[in-house]
Amino acid sequence: MSKSGVVRADRNSAWLRKSTLRVGRYALLLFFFTNFAVPLAWMAMSSLKTSREIATAPLELPERLAWENIGRAWSVGRFSDYLLNSVIYSVATVVGVVVLSSLAGYALARKPRLPLMPIAFVLLLLGLMVPFQALMIPLYYLARDLGILGTRWAMILPGIALGLPFGIFLMRAFFQDLPQDLVDAAKLDGCSEFGAFWRVMLPLAFPGMATVIVFQFMETWNAFLLPLILLQAEDLRPVSLGLMFFSGRYSADRGLIAAAVLLSSLPIILLYLGLQRYFVRGIVSGAVK
């Protein structure tokens, strides 16, 4: 650093460059933000308009808040039923996946070298990579032959099975990180293996379980292809499917459709906003496999 003049010039140009970068950064952020937020807001706004308004004045605010769209979507659109179904499937599947993958994950973590364990592990690994399309056709006929096609079990049992690879991997990784000494200590105190699992390890694995819960909940809530082929009766449809037939049937009433879209997304959006941390964590752990 030589004369003060040069230093000041350096600092000025540095400051200029930095501010330009900062402005540029915010400009870009705002650009992306608009692209992402505006469609959602627009859809929400459209749900409070009448069909005619949507067709003639799509960009403007509604003249009058058409709350009846939402009311109609709820009742006529049977959204209460669809939401109930979605909740049933999601809860049942999540419970199944969490329970089974905790057990299995623990076994794979503790005793990876027992006979059959490595094979099981590889099988599950393949399950992570196989696309659903390769399974769906035989799955349909299997459900039919088992007599569960068209019942809720057709959605729940395969749903659990499909969620197991991810769940087991996650729980296994979690259990592997937990120290063995705690188990040994518990056993010295007289616990059985299962007791040690139940009382000591499982409570410590709650963060892992939370991740599985959130991830599996999201997967099941938004599942489309599985219910499309395995559930036929309208009574059993979840929100993800109900919306499709609803928008086909009422295609002329756009305000109603927008309201239906809003209703189907609101629960999961609220859940997301509340539990954002876990959603993100689930994705990250899943990717780092």
């Binding site: 067709a55 049933i88 049942a92 419970v95 329970v99 349909y140 039919r144 096609l149 068209g150 019942t151 809720r152 079990w153 729940i156 139940w198 499309l228 082929i229 036929q232 009766a233 309208e234 059993l236 499709m244 037939f245 086909g248 049937r249 009422y250 295609s251 002329a252």
Partner: protein, 424 residues
Amino acid sequence: MGKNRTRGLALASVVFAGLALPAAADVELLVWDQFSDELSNRAAEKVYADFMAANPGIRIKREVYAYDQIRTIARTALESGTGPDVIYHEVGPGNAGVLARAGLVMSLEGYSAQYGWHDRLQPAAIAEGNLDGELYGLGLEFEFFGTYYNLTELAALGLSVPRNKEEVLAYCKAASEAGRIPYVFALNPGWQSYHLLSATIYDALGGEAADALLFDHQGRWDSPEVIAAVEATFVELRDANCWPDDIAALLNDDAAGIFYTGEALAWPTGTWQLGRIADNMPGVEFELGAFPAIAGDGTAYLPTGVGSAYYISTKAKDPDAAALFLDYVFSEEAAEAWVELAGFIPPVPFDVAKMDVPPLFESALTTLMTSGKEAGAPVRVGPFINHFVGEAFVNVLRSGSQAVVTGVQTPAEFAAELQKASGH
């Protein structure tokens, strides 16, 4: 496992299983139909309600689907055994034919003998419900494809209904210069193409040759006449600004909206829209005639037939109740509801004089009555091509029309694909 957890699981499974069990008691018929718009919905509700009133032991549970969605899940639903007992599905070997071949819908010959359907229903409707000569479905809406002209708007612009190709081109020019849409048409998702091409291909080939091609497989789909028909329909009319710019993206509902507001002066579509048009455009004068002959010798063709038909599932728990239901749907009593509330023309005898119908309906009936079967009539009756061909052919019709009108494919290429898909 923990005892509490086991108990919890057992309770949960009982609850879930219980939720899946159907209610007992009455015979319940699950009916899937496509009457989703307000008018036909009202008609269907009335007919079904009247049937239930007359047959207290039978309860109808109704589910309504959009026209093109019912195809995507009909098969899986029927096969599962928890699907509909009665389904209103598109006719034809490529549509309901697939279901019949898979053993999912039953032959109605027995019930027809019992109830006398062969005698009561119009032969054309019976023919369309047949698959390989055996009756499987009962078609409800006897419909034809023509063009609705908004006479009120035309008069305001000083235009008249075009009758031949030159007049059509002149009309399109004048109408588009006046800032209006000469003919609104929707090619999204594309099933609308079947009807238009049924008219123009028959125009180009002439009734006899076209019948020979369609039913006896004599001749070819890539013949110059067919290519000329496709060219006229999707290239020449497009270049003359007859069709809206976004024709390939317009949904049927979009086209309807454009016609209702008067922006479009004419809408080539079928009598299935009649009720809605009359309802949405009160006070407007219409002409419902054949789509003008733009290819061939100038004879216009009126594709007629039934769009969809009622079929009974082979897995229906009580097919007799289903047949009883169908018999009512096709009774003269029900016909009154179908005609007055929905604007349908059911294929059973009914006395229109006793009914309260909009002028448009009578205009439609007139058009139907005055079109002839024999050569020499200015307007002749033809079939809907898509009802008599296979699935692959239907797919080509749909996607190929979009391709030609957007310039992706030439009419010759399209015709070649048709020939290939026809399997002959």
